[in-house]
Symmetry: C2
Subunit: 195 residues, 2 copies
DNA sequence: GAATTTGTACTGACCGGTCAGTTTAAACGG
DNA sequence: CCGTTTAAACTGACCGGTCAGTACAAATTC
């Protein structure tokens, strides 16, 4: 893409994203210090302020970055197999790979006048609209129970997958990913073939 | 309960719970100051430290208090009508009444080594076990699809209701409570009568 | 092609404000 | 009276943000 960025800053930003994601996901954006992020990334504090305007700006960039990855994956999953199930499977895989991002998202997404609420609303829409595309297909095929609104169902499915993944990681780590996926699939299939 | 508490302190604690719930739910435990909570409650800062050992202790008490209310409501709902649907309806009503508590819970519940993780695990179990009771009834009656584990399903249902309620409050406030409840019921009924 | 300049990325000591928690003396109320 | 609350000043650790300076490679100059 932008050819005017050196490989060096890109690498540094990546290190900062990794470090910030780990710490912020675990302990919350407000209680992690910039010094800690710098230490975790193996970088001086000043470097953070060279690359980002503020701590908030770093977190916001992290949010965008993560959603970008998720959206990209969902789109390629759709390309490979155009089904709701493929989407669900991919999303579950993403949360399994980046649990800290799930923790960050879940703790900020519904904070009413939060500092990232505007950004997060937009990002949420990115993902939900992808889910909605698949839901719409089911609906058009008459495979959705009447009374279920596509928009609501999409938002609910997204949120549900998020918490199920989180709950799995935190409270039931002994379950395999396949087990969790199958349980969710059961639910989703039930939805798809309900009368 | 404990008869050795004056009505005065009980009232003060209630004011503090209300104030703390509002602020902490909206902006997160870490970024709310004790002075703000005192101001919101219309109480001197010293009073907070007379009634609670620390800011953390106040939040923890708040967590316990909220879960106690929720559990109490769920139990009386079950007494009135012994069905999963009654439980779901009551839970949705609770989240509608205390949205800030939902925000607080969702942002702390899956924080892996968080300061309240231990307490929260126990509190989560309180609620989930109530849900599990109803799930078990369905399961014994053979009204649950095979392959769905009761424990997992209960945890998932609890989490799902929480995020659906939150998403409703934040992103779709125009929907009526009845609408949301009906959508969820659709899902739950679908689960109950799946083959 | 050595010497010098320029631009970019990074460093870490430092500063000023913020905030949890303390202290105290006095008032309140049941 | 005694348990509770108030008001206000104070402490000190902590933390976001700053800034003068370093490193170094790629131009630029002579």
């Amino acid at each position: 893409m932008s050819a005017h960025k050196s490989a060096r800053t890109t690498a540094t930003k990546q290190k900062l994203f990794d470090a910030a994601l780990k710490l912020v996901g675990e302990r919350g954006a407000a209680s992690v210090t910039v010094d800690e992020i710098a230490a975790e990334a193996g970088v001086a504090k000043g470097t953070i302020y060279y690359n980002f305007a503020s701590k908030d700006a770093l977190v916001e960039a992290l949010l965008r970055h993560g959603v970008e990855i998720l959206a990209g994956r969902l789109r390629s999953a759709e390309e490979a197999e155009n089904s709701l199930e493929a989407l669900v499977d991919e999303m579950l895989g993403f949360w399994a790979e980046y649990p800290a991002f799930g923790q960050l998202l879940v703790s900020e997404l519904w904070r009413t006048p939060g500092q990232w609420h505007g950004t997060l609303s937009l990002l949420r829409d990115d993902i939900v609209s992808i889910v909605r595309g698949q839901m719409k297909r089911l609906s058009d095929a008459g495979r959705l129970p009447e009374g279920v609104e596509v928009g609501t169902a999409s938002a609910a499915l997204f949120g549900t997958l998020l918490v199920i993944a989180l709950d799995w990681q935190v409270f039931q780590p002994e379950r395999s990913r396949a087990q969790v996926r199958d349980s969710v699939m059961h639910l989703v299939r039930g939805l798809g073939q309900a009368r």
